[in-house]
Structure formats: C-alpha cells, structure tokens
C-alpha cells in the first residue's frame, strides 16, 4: 500500500515538474518573440527617420522621378499607422523596393553620386535596410521555434488550455524568398 502510494506521488511530482518546465520554456520563447518584434520596430523607426533626409538630398536632382519619391513617402506613413504585422510587413517591403529604385536611379546622376551627404546617407540606409531584414529574419526564426514548441504533441494540449496562440511570421518580399540548405 505504502509502495503504491509512493509510486503515485513520484509520478505526480514528475508530471508537475514537466509541466512547470514546459510552461517556463513557452514563456521564455514568448518573451523572445516579443523582444525580437520590438527589435524590428527599432530598425523600422530608424529607417523612417532617415528617409526625410534622403528625400531632401535627392529632391533637387531627381525632378523626373517624382512618383518614386511619392511612393516612399506614402509607404513611410503607412508603416507608422499599421496596426498588425501583416500591414507593417507590406509597407516595409514597399519602402525597401522604393529605396532600391532610388539608389538605382541615382546612378544616372553623377553630381548626386559625388555628394558627400548622399554617400553617407546611402551607407546609413543600406546598413539600416540590412538590419531591417536581419531583425525580421531573427523574428521569424524565433516565431518558428515558438510555433513548433506549442504545436507538437503533447505540448499542444497544454498550450490550448493556457490559450497560447500561434504567432504570425513577418513575411519577406517575394524577391527575397530563397532558401539555403545547411548541411555538415
């Protein structure tokens, strides 16, 4: 009788410990997702702050490229008012495209290319643009880890009870979608 009771208690303790560990690891991943999402926001904001300077410095040269400049301004305000990840990702991709166009078009203006201020801005924006995509990449990596964690059995039962929901990926632009195979 005592032996049976002891076994039951041991099993109970093991189950409770397992649930505590699972809960903690989900919370940890959840925080990581949140943190990496705010990292994207930091980079998006930084890029948004740089764009007016860019427009200011190219405006005088690119008189014929009005639509490009209008597009980027539009996307810039769209990103500030976006309410969910999907909208934000879309606006962010628009800005990336517009920036690419501006830098491609700038090749036609040697005077602009020689402008010290423009060169500095281009380096700054290229750097920030990379950071936007790297922060998005990290966010997606962490979201995938989180989703895997709460979807596999038996975690899904537990996650359901505690109302942990699958998280949305920050979608990359079509042109950036390529996979690499990592093998050792």
């Amino acid at each position: 009788m005592v032996a049976v009771l002891a076994i039951v208690i041991v099993i109970l303790v093991i189950v409770i410990l397992a649930i505590i560990m699972l809960y903690n690891s989900i919370i940890r991943l959840n925080n990581e997702v949140e943190n990496s999402l705010s990292q994207i926001d930091v980079q998006l904001k930084r890029r948004n702050d740089l764009i007016p300077n860019l427009i200011e410095s190219v405006k005088g040269y690119m008189k014929h490229e009005k639509t490009v400049l209008e597009n980027i301004t539009k996307a810039r305000s769209a990103i500030m008012t976006s309410s969910n990840i999907n909208e934000k990702a879309k606006a962010s991709n628009q800005i990336s495209e517009a920036l690419k166009t501006i830098f491609a078009v700038s090749e036609n203006y040697p005077k602009l290319r020689a402008n010290e201020n423009f060169i500095q801005l281009q380096e700054e924006l290229t750097g920030t643009e990379n950071k936007v995509s790297y922060s998005r990449q990290h966010y997606n990596d962490v979201v995938m880890k989180f989703n895997n964690k709460i979807q596999v059995f038996p975690n899904n039962v537990f996650a359901n009870i505690l109302n942990f929901k699958e998280k949305e990926l920050f979608q990359a632009a079509e042109s950036e979608r390529k996979n690499i195979k990592v093998q050792f």
Partner: protein, 295 residues
C-alpha cells in the same frame, strides 16, 4: 539546428572547464617536480596549483585584453569604418546576441577573429587588409562566421586555449632549457632533473594535441555553416575565403603559436611537412569553400 547549437554551447562550456582543469593539473605536476628537486614535493605542488588557479582567474577576466595586446588590435569608431559597424550590428541582430565591439589590426594580411568570455563581453577583430579588399557580401560572410563563434561559446574555449597554452608552452620551454643548459653547480645533477627534462619534452606535443582537441576542424565548418544561415548567402563567405587563400601575404605580423587558432584562416606562411600538418589548427580552405558552395 537550434538543438545542435544548444548541444554545442553546452559542450563548449564543459570543454572550457576541462581546459582550466587540465592546465591546473599540468602546472601542479611541474610544481611537484620542481619541489621534488628541492626535496619538498608538497610545497611545490601546492604553490604551483595556487599559482595556476590565480593565473586562470586573472586570465579568464583579462584574457581578452591580453589577446588584443598580443595581436595589436585597436577599437574603431563608426566614422572610421561605417560598413564594418553596420555588418557587425546587423548580423548580431540576426544572431540574436548583443552587438560585439569592433576592432581592427593594422595589417595588410586578410584575416579576422573573435574573442571574449561570453556574449556580453565579446569583440570581433578584422585586419585593415580585409576591410580594404573584401566587398560588402564577403565582409558580412566573414563577420557572420565570427559571430557564430561568439554565439556558440567557441570564443571562450579559444580564448582559454590561447592564454593557457601560451603560458604552458613558454614555461615548459623555459624549464626544458634550464634543465639542459643550466649550470650544474653545488647541487649537482639530480637524477630527477633528467626525468623532468623528459616529462617536459613530452609535454609540448601533448599541448599540441590539446590545441587540436579544443580547436577541432569541425568547429570551423560549423561556424561556416551557421554563419551562412545568418547571411542566407553562403557565396559571400566562400568568395571571401577564396580571396583570403589567394592572398600572397597571409602573414599577420603579430600572430604567434598561442593565438594562431583564433583566426579565420591560419596566420602563418604555408609550409608543408609532417610537423606542420600535425599541429595544423585549420582545415583546408579549399574544402571549406567547396562545402559552402554545396549549400
């Protein structure tokens, strides 16, 4: 992938402790022998172990700055090399680690390394030659490789190897010399001296093995692969390694035996021969390029 990363981090933490332990034992062993010569094994043993523990503690916390001094690296500002800064900042975001500090070595050779004891204490060092000769994608490939070393705690193992192996090689070399060339004065040549001499002669190859243990070639392949998964562009690092391997002057002036294994590519002139192979700290660059291109 994350599972292997986790195992690797744990493995590296265990390895760091093992290296420290081994170091303390070797030094204790040497101290015991010296004590034996002077007829007091225990005092020698205890003093040596205390000294080894003290030295290990100091090195754990200041090994990084010592390596920086040894290689002549200096910290750079964002104004000086904006693209280096951007590469380091961007890729550390992708890796999900705090941004390491950026340092350069003023040397025309193409090379780079990372060091530090943990994520918050890490730095990335590149030569100015590398900054001048690589394009953006190639530089990002190299930085991503170095950040992978930081992320999986390779840097701790490698830093400990650099500072502890350095002093052990130096000490055993010094003792070996004093045994062989030392004056045989009043005390006369104690038979133990010959044993010490032999032990020391054996010790150096063992240390060589230790370096190989700590710096297995798999480590470089792994850093290449996880670096490529950060940039999502293996060709960047492949092409950088190609440029590095074709560089006519791979010599980093201030690199030595203790710091060689830190670098992304061996900082010595290419020599062939049994001994070089035995102590080779780096896998062949051609194989690494091939593996990257197959990803």
């Amino acid at each position: 992938m994350s599972q292997t990363m986790f195992q690797q981090i744990r493995g590296n933490k265990i390895k760091s402790i093992l290296i420290l332990f081994l170091f303390i034992i070797i030094i204790g062993f040497l101290g015991g022998f010296i004590g034996f010569i002077y007829n007091n094994v225990y005092i020698g043993l205890i003093l040596a172990i205390l000294a080894a523990i003290l030295y290990s503690l100091i090195m754990y916390f200041s090994g990084k700055s010592m390596i920086l001094t040894m290689t002549g690296a200096r910290q750079v500002t964002k104004q000086e090399y904006p693209h280096l800064y951007h590469a380091v900042e961007g890729l550390s975001i992708a890796a999900g680690i705090p941004t390491p500090k950026a340092y350069v070595i003023d040397d025309s050779a193409l090379n780079a390394f990372a060091t530090g004891r943990n994520h918050n204490d890490s730095i990335v060092v590149v030569t100015t030659g590398l900054l001048n000769k690589l394009n953006r994608q190639e530089l990002e490939g190299v930085i991503a490789h170095e950040l992978s070393h930081i992320k999986n705690y390779d840097i701790r193992v490698m830093m400990l190897t650099a500072v502890l192996v350095g002093i052990t090689v130096l000490l055993s070399d010094f003792l070996l010399r004093s045994v062989i060339y030392g004056r045989r004065d009043s005390k006369g040549s104690h038979p133990a001296l010959i044993i010490v001499g032999l032990v020391l002669a054996l010790l150096t190859p063992i240390i060589g093995e230790l370096i190989k243990l700590a710096v297995s070639r798999k480590r470089e392949y792994l850093a290449d692969a996880s670096g490529a998964s950060l940039t999502r562009y293996p060709e960047g690092l492949a092409s950088a390694l190609e440029k590095i391997s074709k560089d006519p002057d791979p010599l980093v002036d201030k690199a030595n035996k203790a710091t060689a294994h830190l670098f992304i590519s061996t900082p010595f002139r290419k020599r062939t021969g049994f001994v070089t192979n035995l102590f080779s700290t780096h896998p062949s660059i051609e194989v690494r390029i091939k593996k990257l291109r197959e990803m």
